[in-house]
């Protein structure tokens, strides 16, 4: 069976895309940038000492699951979440819900999504998909990163839902119980923006927010010492492009998505200053995109000497300066809403 009423759409990011699709399915019209913005999803963190990571990495959005938790806290959308120890029970509950026509979001290890091209698939326990049907031994999947509905064998899905390791999904799934008739944007938009400002320029550890961007620029210079050979270094540097553009960011490391949120918020609140800020955020995103192009180019050419890494670090530092100014200005704008 398949839940015919569910409308599959691609989205920029899996978590916000899944949330948006489920909320829309329940009858509340909302956009992905609005979900991302209201959930204060924008973030920056440079992780160099996480024991589970084989190489330092940077993150551009809040911890997986936080977006949903914030949306649940800030709006009257009611989510039902479940985790399982028993794999059979997890599958039975999933089947039961699909059987009564409820689309269910599941957290999975991205690697096992075998409908996605091989080169894209990496082990990451932070992917969200929506299960919208089952036919025989196959589940029908709505994945924000895939243009059409996909199919996955039940054994693969089980493996993906119960992969161990960092941020292990433990069979986590959720669905929406109820949505309000409308959302109080006037109150929520300033609250959500203030939260993002705090994440980026508030009192945070040195590896978080704008300080985290500067840490990234600095630590990048030491990457050659952490790699096996030039190919490994090239691979890691080229991943900067993937983290900024391809891994579900909507481009420019989520900055374009956030700019769109600010634009939509300015229209809802009829606030021209927010509109100006949205344009500035779009420009900041363009700067990140230039970084991703540059990283891909020097990685491909194996042009990874200290001067090039310094140049890349300089570009990243410029983004830190631009973002610091931006959030300080945004702080003033939000105070006046």
């Amino acid at each position: 069976m398949i839940i015919e009423s569910f409308k599959h759409n691609m989205a920029a990011h899996c978590e916000s895309g899944t949330l948006t699709a489920l909320i829309k399915h329940k009858g509340l019209e909302i956009t992905e940038p609005m979900i991302f913005g209201l959930g204060s999803g924008l973030y920056f963190g440079y992780l160099s000492r996480t024991p589970n990571l084989s190489f330092p990495m940077f993150i551009l959005r809040t911890k997986p699951g936080k977006l949903r938790k914030k949306i649940a806290k800030r709006t009257d959308i009611k989510f039902k979440t479940q985790r399982f120890k028993n794999k059979d029970k997890a599958e039975q509950e999933l089947d039961r819900l699909i059987g009564i026509g409820i689309p269910v979001a599941c957290q999975v290890d991205f690697y096992y999504m075998d409908y996605i091209p091989q080169w894209e698939r990496v082990h990451a326990n932070i992917h969200f998909i929506t299960i919208v049907g089952k036919e025989g031994d196959e589940y029908l999947i709505s994945d924000s990163y895939y243009p059409k509905l996909a199919r996955i064998h039940k054994d693969k899905l089980r493996k993906a839902r119960f992969a161990g390791g960092y941020l292990a999904p433990k069979g986590f799934m959720y669905y929406i119980e109820s949505v309000p008739e409308s959302i109080g944007y006037k109150k929520l938009v300033p609250l959500a923006i203030k939260n993002t400002i705090n994440n980026m320029i508030g009192v945070q550890p040195p590896f978080i927010g704008v300080r985290g961007i500067r840490t990234f620029a600095k630590k990048l210079q030491g990457w050659p010492k952490l790699t096996r050979d030039i190919d490994h270094l090239s691979h890691e540097v080229m991943k900067i492009n993937i983290f900024l553009e391809d891994q579900g960011t909507g481009g420019g490391g989520f900055r374009f998505l956030y700019a769109t949120f600010l634009r939509q918020a300015s229209e809802i609140l009829n606030n021209n200053e927010l509109d100006d800020m949205s344009k500035k955020m779009m420009e900041i995103g363009d700067g990140w995109r230039n970084i991703s192009y540059f990283a891909a180019k020097i990685g491909k050419n194996r042009d990874l000497g200290p001067e090039k890494l310094q140049e890349l670090g300089q570009m990243i530092n410029e983004r830190a300066d631009a973002e610091e100014n931006f959030y300080n200005e945004l702080k003033t704008v939000v105070r006046n809403i």
Binding site: N52, P117, E245, R263, M282
Partner: protein, 166 residues
């Protein structure tokens, strides 16, 4: 980003980008992946080089199959330990050639499950000469297909080698 600058013609990997459209509004477009379109060959070459180099070391008994697959899957010891449920100190031991011979079959099964390969593949490398050194993006397009099917016996897998008629 302007809409016209965002379009990448690459069907195999599509994604959503948020852009400034012609009329000045901000919104999503569906486009192709820039890095995959321009640099996928480089990625496959690096992977092939890494695999071949690790295979050489494996053949010379300088590394263990656990180390081989750990690098291919980009795990570190802690992550591999958490995924397999095997303690970190044992995972470290299993990567030492001298100690690998003492590994338990039950531990091998746990590794094989996480590496998503049959347990027999931890003791063999299937190399098809026609496919070798081809940085092919899609395994199903290679001239020779190797299909491995699991059986009800967890230690036995059927390996079928056939010419790709596509």
């Amino acid at each position: 980003m302007k809409e016209k600058d965002a379009y990448i013609d690459y069907e195999p990997q599509q994604l959503i980008m948020y852009v400034e459209k012609e009329d000045g509004t901000f919104g999503p477009i569906q486009t192709g992946s820039y890095i995959t379109k321009n640099y996928l060959d480089d990625f496959w070459e690096k992977m092939l080089k890494l695999k071949n180099s690790l295979l050489e070391q494996l053949k010379k008994n300088e590394i263990t199959p656990i180390y081989f697959y750990k690098l291919i899957h980009d795990f570190n010891d802690v992550e591999l330990a958490r995924r397999t449920g095997i303690p970190v100190f044992k995972v470290k031991r299993h990567q030492k050639v001298k100690l690998f011979r003492k590994i338990k079959l039950s531990d091998l099964c746990k590794y094989a499950y996480v590496f998503d390969v049959p347990v027999s593949n931890l003791f063999q490398a299937i190399v098809v000469e026609d496919n070798e050194n081809k940085a092919e993006t899609d395994a199903s397009k290679q001239p020779i297909l190797v299909k491995q099917t699991r059986t009800e016996n967890p230690f036995v897998v059927i390996t079928k080698i056939e010419v790709n008629k596509k």
